[in-house]
């Protein structure tokens, strides 16, 4: 269990200095280290806050019986979605997972439309047809969350193939979890992406569990180095601190730049943790109650807020205001969703075929 304690270390990949990310960067000027503008850095924090508030509301709604099926929230992992998607353009693609709300928000999705979808409304992203696990936004390059573990991996590589065949410089990022690493399709499309030198980043969020299955018990790979699997396909890989939005940003940026420059696929593994259960209602019998404590100390939101303050990029008051703004945005999203009509069953079979 030793390796489930939070780590700040970064394995270098693609010419990035191992010192660029992680705790060491705290002391450095963020603007200089990252090359990001202050407003961009602040945007990272705001996005993470928006995700956190969305997920908190989502959990409340689920417990109140207002979201059907199951819903998987993302508290604790926000630095990953935001760090990754902050390296992408609107025209770039992502594929997401069952735990997809954050990826959608980070890639530019609309919280109103997503909230409406969770409540099964006609105005939702999927017009009430899909629900939590199928949110997509073609206009933002969001090729869908997915209810099947590993289900989106081929799609991401296909988007990368399109980019190449159409002569575009777009990149695709394929999000997946540690548990998904054991799905055969990852093996198949990693090999294809490598053989065809496609612009795709395989982005693994290692939160140490796939439901109750620990990485330790179900993932054979040396010292639990998930990124090590990339070597089987001659794909370069990096592991980064998934609790640190800057470390994630930099590691992903290197991989995205490589892809965009014709350098082919990469693996990036972000070490992170989900503060809550697998889905709302998870009895959480498989890990110690206290295991989350050290991770909560590394909560990506207050920590990054602290760095912005330390760097004089923000004041405490601003941070508090942004948090309030995020809450407001989610309240508005909820209001939008609640005011929206239910889908009309009279056009039930619409949308099956184009």
């Amino acid at each position: 269990m030793a390796d489930q304690r939070p780590q700040g270390k970064t394995n270098a990949a693609g010419g990035r200095s191992p010192k660029a990310g992680g705790r060491k960067a705290k002391a450095a000027k963020l603007v200089e280290t990252t090359g990001l503008r202050p407003d961009e850095l602040i945007g990272l924090l705001q996005r993470m806050m928006l995700i956190r508030e969305f997920e908190e509301e989502c959990a409340r709604l689920y417990r109140a019986g207002r979201i059907r099926g199951v819903t998987h929230t993302y508290q604790g992992q926000e630095a990953v979605a935001v760090g990754v998607c902050s390296t992408l353009n609107v025209s770039d693609f992502i594929t997401s997972t069952h735990r997809g709300h954050a990826h959608v928000i980070a890639k530019g999705g609309d919280v109103n439309l997503m909230m409406a979808e969770l409540l099964g409304k006609a105005t939702g992203y999927c017009k009430g047809r899909g629900g939590s696990m199928h949110i997509a936004d073609m206009s933002q390059g969001i090729l869908g969350a997915n209810g099947i573990v590993g289900g989106g991996m081929g799609i991401a590589v296909g988007a990368a193939l399109s980019s190449k065949m159409l002569g575009r410089d777009t990149v695709a990022v394929c999000f997946f979890g540690d548990g998904a690493m054991n799905q055969g399709i990852l093996h198949e499309v990693s090999n294809i992406a490598a053989c065809w030198n496609l612009p795709v980043v395989f982005l693994c969020e290692n939160n140490f569990y796939g439901m109750s299955a620990s990485v330790e018990d179900t993932l054979a790979c040396k010292e639990m180095n998930l990124a090590g699997r990339a070597a089987a396909y001659d794909i370069p890989a990096a592991t980064c601190d998934g609790m640190d939005v800057i470390d994630v940003h930099l590691a992903t940026r290197a991989a995205v730049e490589r892809a965009r420059g014709g350098g082919g696929p990469s693996y990036v593994v972000c070490t992170t943790y989900r503060f809550l259960g697998h889905h709302v209602g998870d009895p959480l019998t498989y890990r110690d109650k206290s295991a989350v404590d050290p991770w909560r100390l590394r909560d990506p939101i207050p920590n990054f807020a602290g760095r912005l303050v330390a760097d004089n990029l923000a004041t405490r008051e601003q941070v508090d205001r942004w948090e309030a703004e995020a809450k407001d945005a989610i309240a508005r999203a909820l209001a939008f969703a609640e005011e929206s009509p239910d889908p009309d069953p009279s056009n039930l079979t619409e949308d099956v075929f184009a």
Partner: protein, 355 residues
């Protein structure tokens, strides 16, 4: 579907000795697993989140079993359905009797080659020289807002592929008796539970209770319309029967219990009596099991039919998430009531009933 006599699974059901107890469908399944694992050390269960999660399975089917049998026999797997299906098959060929669990039927899609090309065909391909005592357990069905990739009913696929037996228990007693039978069967059995039935209560025989494959269960007798349901739609049919009874319309509700082998004679006998047939399921209508149920009845009892047999199924669409849509998509009690009335319209009830 498969003629019962061809399957050799019609073992007798010795009467339960210890009386019955009231329990839920999920408890009945749990008891079946426990009893079979106690009886036979080669039985083991394999799947995702069956041991550690919540004390035993996302739906509680394996609850407490890891404490009794240990993690070797209640074996949590990686998320590798194709892989662990193959592993189950290999173990079945070499001395074990694995029960492989898929959390949702939908996830079996990633393992379909191992199920339909390998497990289903191996005995036949090998000229009958192998036994495949393999149970593939899962839950299917809609009604809980699980959306398009967690709500499918896939019995049509499994029933179509020769070499698989297919069980669809709709009561706690059948859940226990069919699962015990499935585990003792030397053939691959796809054992389909229904997510909405897990909490359903009923009387379940204590101890040894085996429900033979290929023997339908007449859940309610009636003279006017035969309703053949799959899973929860049998409950819908029973509710519809209650509603229709005061109108003088009697439904006969026949639960096939297993789709392979299929008790076509039981359904034919009922249709010969009623002259009317409704087949109901949650799977999409097109090339669903309902068409098969009806076609068998046509082959067996065409001249007895007073009206064209009807089917009530989900629309030809993925299962939607929103409640308004999901409700509209699925066959409901009211649909069965309406269909039965239509079948009876223009005919005197007593005439129809007295044939």
């Amino acid at each position: 579907m498969n003629a019962v006599s061809n399957d050799g699974s019609g073992g007798a059901s010795p009467p339960a000795t210890g009386g019955t107890v009231t329990m839920t469908y999920v408890q009945a399944l749990n008891e079946a697993l426990r009893e079979e694992m106690e009886r036979d050390p080669t039985v083991f269960v394999m799947g995702e989140d069956i041991a550690v999660w919540g004390g035993g399975g996302v739906f509680g089917v394996t609850k407490g079993l890891v404490d009794i049998f240990g993690p070797e026999r209640i074996r949590d797997t990686p998320i590798s359905e194709a892989g662990f299906t193959g592993v189950g098959l290999g173990a079945a060929l070499t001395g074990m009797r694995p029960v492989v669990e898929y959390m949702y039927a939908d996830f079996m899609m990633v393992a379909m080659d191992q199920i339909a090309n390998q497990a289903a065909k191996i005995r036949y391909m090998f000229g009958g020289k192998a036994r495949v005592p393999l149970v593939l357990r899962t839950q299917e069905g809609a009604g809980r807002g699980n959306g398009p990739q967690h709500s499918q009913s896939l019995e049509a696929w499994f029933t179509h592929i020769p070499g698989l037996k297919v069980a669809v228990p709709s009561t706690p007693a059948d859940a226990k008796g069919l699962l015990k039978m499935a585990i003792r069967d030397d053939n691959p059995v796809v054992f389909l539970e229904h997510k909405l039935l897990y909490g359903k209560k009923g009387e379940v025989p204590v101890g040894e209770h085996l429900v033979p494959f290929g023997r339908a269960n007449v859940l309610r007798e009636g003279r006017h319309v035969t309703v053949v349901g799959v899973h929860i739609t049998n409950d819908h049919a029973l509710e519809a029967a209650e509603i229709l009874a005061p109108e003088g319309i009697e439904l006969e509700v026949v639960d096939p219990r297993t789709l392979v082998p299929y008790d076509r004679e039981a359904v034919a006998a009922s249709v010969r009596k009623t002259g009317r047939l409704i087949a109901v399921h949650q799977a999409p209508e097109r090339v669903g099991v309902a068409a098969e149920i009806i076609q068998c009845a046509i082959e067996d009892a065409f001249d007895y039919l007073d009206a064209p047999p009807m089917r009530l199924c989900a629309a030809n669409m993925p299962v939607p998430y929103a409640k308004t849509l999901e409700d509209a998509d699925l066959p409901q009690v009211a649909d069965i009531v309406g269909a039965a009335r239509r079948l009876m319209s223009g005919r005197s009830v007593t005439t129809a009933g007295s044939r």
